[in-house]
């Protein structure tokens, strides 16, 4: 093989299946290392209630992260998720007031978020603008809409059955975990088992090649943002139930956590590279850090530092293993 390698035109080296696995899931080893460390440092870490609590705490961010992963894989980015979360929450409050029905509140919330996802998608697919800038603009607008509809007020939810969606348990497992698992499975099937997923990877990997092969680039891009909106809608239901309130000021900075989870999980910022299980690893790592630090009573400033370090680690690993970037 080496005699065929080209100067300057080198596309990469030989890779066995093992090193492909390392490249994609290598960060999982770091997660395992962290867990082992925490197991030793505090016996409370491995309590079943604690592990469930971790899953519980990452559920909201996790749902958003899966949607973000689909968007980034297609070569885009969605900065408006935090605002969508708030707007979704506000809609729940209004719908519960208006109809008292949990189902309608959930459906409307998810529908509204999906709708704004569609707006993002159409804007970006149609015009050659930078996703960063467009979703920054929608981030502001959507938050404003949330404030407008709510009048700026936070509203406590009195519907106990609704809050149960977020904090209740089924078969001993917090409901939030079911939500997260459902989104995980849907994302996995979408990205790894359907044509849409294949096209998403293609558009993110090389848009020109995708176009030349007849891939429906427009609908792939739009679709990725619609999915992101959908996931954020689900997250909004979960969030509102957990804090028992409909608030227009929540979600600020949540896009950062979602992006961090994706990047840590091996999603390439340039597009075309990601795995759904990897994304899950990224989500869990953030949760484990927070939980571990809190159990140990560590200053919260360290948590933020550690999160930043993790992102750097993931980027460095990505750079060394994916030379194209």
């Amino acid at each position: 093989m080496n005699s065929l390698s080209k100067k300057g035109n080198r596309l990469g080296m030989d890779q066995t299946d093992l090193s492909l696995l390392m490249r994609r899931y290598g960060i999982g080893l770091v997660l395992v290392a962290m867990c082992i460390f925490l197991m030793i440092a505090t016996p409370n870490f491995t309590k079943a209630s604690n592990l469930l609590s971790i899953l519980n705490s990452v559920a909201v961010n996790g749902c958003i992260a899966f949607g973000m992963c689909v968007v980034i894989t297609g070569g885009g980015i969605d900065l408006s998720v935090g605002s969508m979360l708030a707007l979704g929450s506000v809609m729940i409050g209004k719908m519960l007031d208006a109809t008292g029905s949990n189902l309608i509140a959930c459906i409307v919330c998810i529908a509204v978020c999906t709708f704004f996802g569609l707006i993002n998608g159409l804007l970006l697919a149609k015009f050659e603008l930078f996703p960063f800038v467009v979703t920054l603009a929608t981030q502001l607008s959507i938050r404003g809409i949330g404030y407008l509809i709510s009048g700026g007020y936070s509203q406590g939810l009195t519907n106990v059955s609704f809050t149960n969606i977020g904090i209740g348990k089924t078969l001993g497992i917090p409901n939030a975990v079911f939500f997260l698992t459902a989104i995980l499975i849907i994302t996995y099937i979408l990205m790894h088992r359907t044509k849409f997923g294949r096209y998403d990877y293609a558009v993110g990997g090389n848009k020109a090649a995708a176009t030349a092969s007849g891939v429906p680039v427009f609908w792939t891009i739009a679709g990725s943002y619609v999915f992101s909106g959908f996931c954020t809608g689900v997250a909004a239901v979960l969030m509102s139930a957990r804090i028992n309130a409909a608030q227009p000021n929540i979600g600020i900075g949540y896009e950062t956590d979602a992006i961090a989870a994706c990047v840590i999980g091996g999603t390439s910022f340039a597009g075309g590279i990601s795995t759904t299980p990897g994304c899950l690893i990224g989500i869990l790592m953030i949760g484990v850090i927070y939980n571990g630090m809190n159990l140990l009573g560590v200053n919260s400033y360290w948590q933020t530092i550690l999160k930043g370090l993790l992102i750097l680690l993931a980027l460095l690993l990505d750079k060394f293993m994916n030379k194209k970037h």
């Binding site: 093989m1 080496n2 005699s3 065929l4 390698s5 080209k6 100067k7 300057g8 035109n9 080198r10 596309l11 990469g12 080296m13 030989d14 890779q15 492909l20 099937i189 088992r193 359907t194 044509k195 294949r198 096209y199 990877y201 293609a202 990997g205 090389n206 020109a208 090649a209 995708a210 176009t211 030349a212 092969s213 007849g214 891939v215 075309g272 590279i273 194209k324």
Partner: protein, 500 residues
């Protein structure tokens, strides 16, 4: 004209962009089962015509007939469905998808809403085996060498039942061995009844592999016919519109003392390399791709320091840990990929020419724009850069002129040693000759020049001495007089490249 005689016919095609006429009443007729050469300088209209055929552009007037039927497509995917495919010069592949996924992109097997990955993989593997590809279909594209990736594009075209395959400069990044392999593939495709449109600047290839030709110049089709009935000189005349006497205008100049010497230089990809370059001398380095030429000069230029050995400049040992140090020592290098390494395409000519020279030419805190303009204009003129002024973007120049800008940039730096890596790659015939003239001019100034080229005629025409590389080591030195006298031929040099 019997319509069954031709597989593709273009009549009266015209295309204009914002006032510039890219194509004017172009005619082209391609016989089925032939390899048809498309020739012409850069900007002559070849790629515009190809884009119309493949569906990336729509012609303003004129008709295209394919296999006897009127032909009009809206995009490359539609063209592929009709049997017309293109293998691009800058490969258009998905780097992170596998070979199988690339070949069957948008044509995947499905079971209900889900992908049937096994079926697609099986189909792809069968195709690869047919072509004796040698690598599994689940390899990621980015792990393939360029030649193999190009083969995948060809296989993809064949799998889409392409009857006409357009190849745009397919050998520009291949070495002799891979080129031969490609030619064999082309002959196999021809035997299967496929038609190839072959775009290339390399004359000897045209005569090696092509049956017919069409020549473009300034947006017009100016000549066509059988390759067997024409000579190189005539082709060049048609392309350039004037007689070009000598493509390799080597002007001998005085060769002085040793400027640069490397002793037992070893590094990644090369071992125990020793040679000397003299003032005013053009030293040619030739060899198969990956043989170690680029790696050696990268070491000299400070891009990738060697692991052992010495580099001596004017008798004194130097160590270049970075390109900044190399340039400070007076060593300059023109990289083979000028778009990536040679130019800031979005910036003006003036900014490009002055870039490495700001440190030495501009003393004060603020830039002396007036002086910069004068000096850059001077050097641009000396390298005969043709452009509408110094302030236009480098992007808008032709390949040949871009290369001249790069030369001007380094000329201004007044180097002692100038390394040129594939200096006329992607440059059309007319500009090639001009660049060669400029290179000789530089030599005449006393600069020691090391030139790497994969085009044997170029190396043989321009060098005072040639060093042949084989798998990281030197395998022979050839003097100019032996080439001129005919003792050493292309075959001899090729044999040495292969290790004899």
């Amino acid at each position: 004209m019997d319509s069954n005689e031709y597989i593709l016919e273009c009549h009266g095609l015209s295309k204009a962009f914002a006032g510039t006429k890219a194509l004017t009443e172009v005619d082209m007729m391609i016989r089925p089962g032939t390899v048809h050469a498309l020739m012409g300088e850069n900007g002559a209209g070849k790629s515009t015509l190809m884009k119309c055929i493949i569906g990336l552009l729509e012609q303003d007037t004129g008709t295209i007939t394919f296999e006897g039927q009127p032909y009009k497509v809206k995009n490359p995917a539609e063209a592929a469905l009709k049997g017309v495919s293109m293998v691009h010069q800058e490969l258009n592949v998905e780097p992170y998808l596998t070979i199988a996924e690339n070949i069957f992109l948008h044509r995947e097997d499905v079971r209900g809403p889900f992908l049937d990955k096994k079926a697609t993989l099986k189909k792809a593997q069968a195709l690869l085996d047919e072509f004796k590809f040698g690598m599994p279909a689940k390899t990621e594209m980015q792990n393939l060498p360029l030649a193999k990736a190009q083969m995948v594009e060809i296989i993809k075209a064949v799998s889409q039942n392409a009857r006409l395959i357009i190849m745009d400069e397919p050998t520009s990044s291949l070495d002799s061995e891979e080129t031969e392999h490609l030619f064999q593939t082309i002959r196999d495709l021809k035997a299967q009844g496929k038609t190839i449109v072959y775009i290339s600047h390399r004359m000897e290839e045209i005569f090696q592999i092509c049956d017919d030709y069409t020549v473009f110049r300034d947006g017009h089709s100016v000549g066509c016919g059988r390759v067997a009935d024409i000579t190189t000189a005539d082709l060049v005349t048609q392309m350039v519109g004037r007689e070009v006497k000598n493509i390799f205008p080597k002007v001998d100049c005085a060769i002085g003392e040793v400027e640069l010497e490397v002793k037992n230089l070893t590094g990644k990809g090369f071992k125990d390399i020793s040679f000397q370059v003299h003032k005013g001398e053009i030293l040619g380095l030739t060899g198969l791709v990956g043989a170690g030429r680029s790696e050696t000069v990268s070491a000299i230029f400070g891009l990738l320091p060697p692991t052992s050995g010495e580099i001596l400049l004017e008798g004194k040992e130097i160590k270049n840990k970075s390109t900044t140090q190399a340039i400070a020592h007076g060593i300059a290098m023109v990289n083979e990929d000028r778009k990536q390494y040679g130019l800031c395409l979005m910036r003006s000519l003036r900014e490009n020419i002055s870039l490495p020279n700001l440190k030495s030419r501009q003393r004060g805190l603020l830039l002396n724009k007036k002086r910069e303009k004068e000096e850059c204009a001077q050097y641009a003129k000396e390298m005969t850069v043709k452009s509408a002024g110094l302030e236009i973007e480098a992007l808008s120049l032709s390949g040949g002129n871009q290369q001249k800008v790069v030369l001007a940039k380094w000329l201004m730096a007044n180097p002692k040693v100038l390394i040129l890596d594939e200096p006329t790659r992607g440059v059309d015939v007319g500009a090639k000759a001009e660049i060669h003239t400029q290179i000789c001019k530089l030599a005449a100034r006393g600069i020691a020049i090391i030139m790497i080229s994969s085009e044997l005629p170029e190396i043989m025409g321009m060098s005072d001495r040639i060093l042949v590389y084989h798998e990281g080591k030197l395998n022979g030195e050839i003097l100019r007089r032996d080439i001129l006298s005919g003792v050493v031929t292309q075959e001899t040099i090729l044999a040495k490249e292969f290790g004899q």
